[in-house]
Point group: C2
Chain length 521, copies 2
């Protein structure tokens, strides 16, 4: 007997089995799963009533609100495909994505209306405004006026049809529309449940922007077991610590930059045990150590938009769990092993042969998995390139340690090639992070007459700390070969990041290459 | 990107990621996952070399040995379908099953050769003999002579093709061949991993006969995370406690009759924390309480051969976990909730409408799930009946409590109809189990001139205990309405059971209905 694999089954289960438990906590507002279910049916009915047909595309532009979260379930339940939009883009970028993705309707949070309303109007796209009681008349009125009777689980759904189209998050300048299927999202959800150990008693804080690969699956998976979802529209250390204390948070997901924010001495607090899954860029061992001391257990996972996203986990054996945190942190900082639900993850050379497990030979991380997207929307060429040889090419360069752990050494294009030697920017950054004054560090390639490229470091310091370029150079020399030591240090208040907290290396690199072409290696 | 859902991916992962960890412990013998992988390739190569082709059927007849376990992975890896045979059948029964299932090759443990060799020969079926070093020449020689090079993961496998054909276990007299697909078995494995929390440090004791619905998924799932498999060919309280002490067992699966054996005062011992999943028939609250006191945490799961098998779990909230064991045991004794990976489980009336959640209205448990078999082998009519209305009909009668917990009240045919009232044999047995002298209890329908049917109890007592029928009648009257109290008590040394430890109620019932027809209601 076939039943479509879809994360909608997680949501259905919570509404059926946990009707009186808390589904949503958002400020003063609380919805039980019974109420959540009724809102879900209402939105799905409203969408159908407004002429949304199976296969239509509906975009959502919202911070982590309960209304935004609802769209991840109600839009596909109505048979449509959700297009989550990044909240930090400009009007022309929204115009491009709305048009490119053939969006029929935009669900837009009131706070972001200014940037999207005009472009939507120009494209003839209807906008429903979500927000608080006053601003949200449009959306809430439609819900109130729609039928609240349950829609049956869509047994006839094609599990290989898209549930979302997620634009890549912008570490490169050309976003592509990643089509994730119901089956992709379901299998990712299985991994979240397996490795995060959420239960009906868990309280999950939505720190990670949900438009970022569907909150790594968190927009659905937590509902599978009836956990509570704490919505957090504004992500700062004080709002996170505030929510933790107020709601008894047990689980969260966050990019390493958010961990760095939480461990900044100016805001750090001790917490009851909280599991934090982190991904997006490799977290440095020092941050893991600092988090551990505060009470957070860091679980490093790894993936990309194209892999739904989570495919590896830095799992530890019982023996490794017993190591002192400094030793554990080194292991946790590696991307680890393919998840049991995620198919195969391999590091392969250009001939697609696995690299030796020597902890140094670089290869490209490739994936053969039910987590891998259907393809890029309206871009068959990019799809074919990404799937060459029957494996998905991540573009991430890594090595494999003797124990089988995969470690990312760099994005393909972030490797610095200096006098023919490859320098891993991640390795150099890891050393800079060990300096007590350094809060954030990014190392990128800079043009150099003799060596072709050398490293340039951009650093942001902890409040009240100072350190000179000479001191940082000397510090780096103690831990790195001379050619790897950055030849220039730049100090910034904050480093540029994407909305999901990844450093935008290309922005920094562009400042160094003005008027010169840098080939992507 | 599609990758076939198959439990072979679990096995592949263990061989790849945990090569030096222990795969198998069997007496003095230990195989690492590296060695296990090599044996797997050797057996798969040997099968292909012997002319086994994709889609061919290979039977295995073996107690829980490492060689038997190997066949669950190597036979499907060679592209064939495994037919696990019950170890307690007679030669004519083996003849029927081997012929009916179109078996080409039989892998037979030396200890069981006497019952199967002749019938296999008569059917022209080749036999490979498995066993210890001396007896196992045949099988081990073939492995030694076969190539040991890895066979690639079968990416072109059809996930909806059968991986096994499991004969129903014989609580009824007409066994049917249940075709379980790779996808069925994979999804069941996901449930095992989610709810049993096995890790690479777990030590799983194979107490449950693996021919019984593929050890409830245990023949593959434990390998997904690199856990150790302790093989146990002979299942007695002393061999179980012996293995627990010797190997540091952390997880096991067992039918309630095995729990009863472990809690018998004559053999009971205290153990370090062990998770025991139990299913096969509803465990009674007293046994759960006794197990808990010894150090075993009982996780009740429920399912049938046709559902791969595990579809519900008696999960508790944190608040319920904190209850005294007597109260907890009542909740654990119920079958509970559909697993998050198992689709929908409903209790429905004859018009296929869900019954009210009142803890009393009986309906049939039905399932819509990726766990549900492809169908009965060469029995389209039985398949069509079982799938009527798009749901799989379990034949189990249950109710739903106000909190959504499903509780089995009886197999359809085990309900006793007395003067028009339905009596749940399970409910009456639960009361008898509360009497300190009672080790095992089964209640079945007995013909009665006035009431049509009344209950007759068969009981086995704990060593050194005595109790009269009058005493048991008085005890039952304290807890049950008069019409539910058994009108006759029979004392046996041991109650008849199937090889997987289920009581054979039909055997006991038949003794009461000689010369009379009893309609199945």
């Amino acid at each position: 007997m076939k039943r479509p694999l879809t994360p909608l089954d997680f949501v259905r289960r919570a509404i059926k089995l946990y009707p009186e438990r808390t589904a949503i906590l958002h400020g003063e507002l609380r919805y039980s799963y019974r109420q959540w279910g009724e809102r879900l049916w209402r939105l799905a009915h409203a969408l159908r009533g407004a002429g949304i047909r199976p296969g239509d595309h509906v975009a959502v532009l919202s911070p982590n609100t309960h209304q935004g979260l609802l769209s991840y379930s109600a839009v596909p339940w109505a048979g449509a495909v959700l297009v989550p939009l990044n909240t930090r883009l400009t009007a022309p970028e929204y115009a491009f994505q709305l048009e490119f993705a053939d969006v029929k309707l935009l669900l837009c949070d009131a706070s972001l209306l200014g940037r999207a309303q005009e472009v939507a109007a120009a494209l003839g796209i209807e906008v429903w405004v979500m927000g608080d009681e006053v601003a949200g008349q449009d959306f809430e009125t439609r819900l109130r006026e729609a039928a609240g009777d349950p829609l049956p689980f869509p047994l006839d759904l094609d599990e290989d049809s898209p549930i979302t189209i997620n634009f890549t998050s912008g570490t490169t300048s050309s976003p592509k529309g990643v089509m994730l299927t119901h089956r992709n999202a379901y299998m990712d959800g299985v991994g979240v449940l397996l490795y995060m150990n959420v239960t009906q008693d868990s309280v999950y804080l939505h720190t990670l922007p949900n438009f970022h690969v569907n909150g790594w699956g968190g927009v659905w998976a937590m509902q599978g077991v009836g956990a509570a979802n704490v919505m957090l529209p504004v992500v700062r250390a004080d709002t996170i610590y505030g929510a933790v204390e107020r709601h008894g948070v047990t689980h969260m997901c966050a990019a390493p930059t958010v961990l760095s924010m939480l461990t900044d001495p100016a805001s750090a607090r001790s917490v009851p045990p909280i599991l934090v899954a982190t991904a997006g860029s490799p977290p440095h061992a020092r941050i893991i150590t600092d988090m551990d001391r505060l009470g957070f257990t860091v679980l490093q996972v790894y993936g990309l938009s194209e892999t739904s996203p989570l495919i590896t986990v830095a799992e530890l054996s019982a023996e490794q769990e017993a190591l002192p945190i400094a030793e554990r942190a080194v292991l946790i900082a590696r991307q680890g092993f393919e998840m049991v639900n995620a198919g195969e993850v391999e590091v392969m050379d250009t001939d697609m042969r696995p690299v030796p497990h020597d902890g140094s030979t670089l290869g490209e991380i490739m994936v053969q998995s039910n987590h891998v997207m259907l393809g890029y929307y309206k871009n068959p060429q990019a799809t074919a390139e990404a799937f060459a040889g029957g494996w998905f090419h991540t573009g991430d360069m890594g090595c494999v340690h003797p124990d089988g752990r995969i470690e990312i050494r760099d994005r393909n294009k972030d490797v610095i090639i200096s006098g023919g030697e490859n320098i891993s920017s991640v390795e150099v950054e890891g050393v800079l992070y060990r300096h007590p004054a350094v809060r954030e560090a990014v190392v990128v390639a800079m043009p150099h007459d003799t060596w072709g490229e050398v490293g340039c470091a951009f650093v942001a310091l902890h409040a009240g700390h100072e350190v000179t370029s000479e001191e940082l150079t000397a510090f780096a020399r103690e831990h790195l070969a001379g050619f790897k030591v950055p030849k220039r240090f730049e100090y910034l208040e904050d480093l540029p990041k994407t909305a999901s907290g990844k450093f935008q290396k290309f922005v920094l690199r562009d400042t160094l290459w003005e008027g010169q072409a840098r080939g992507v290696n």
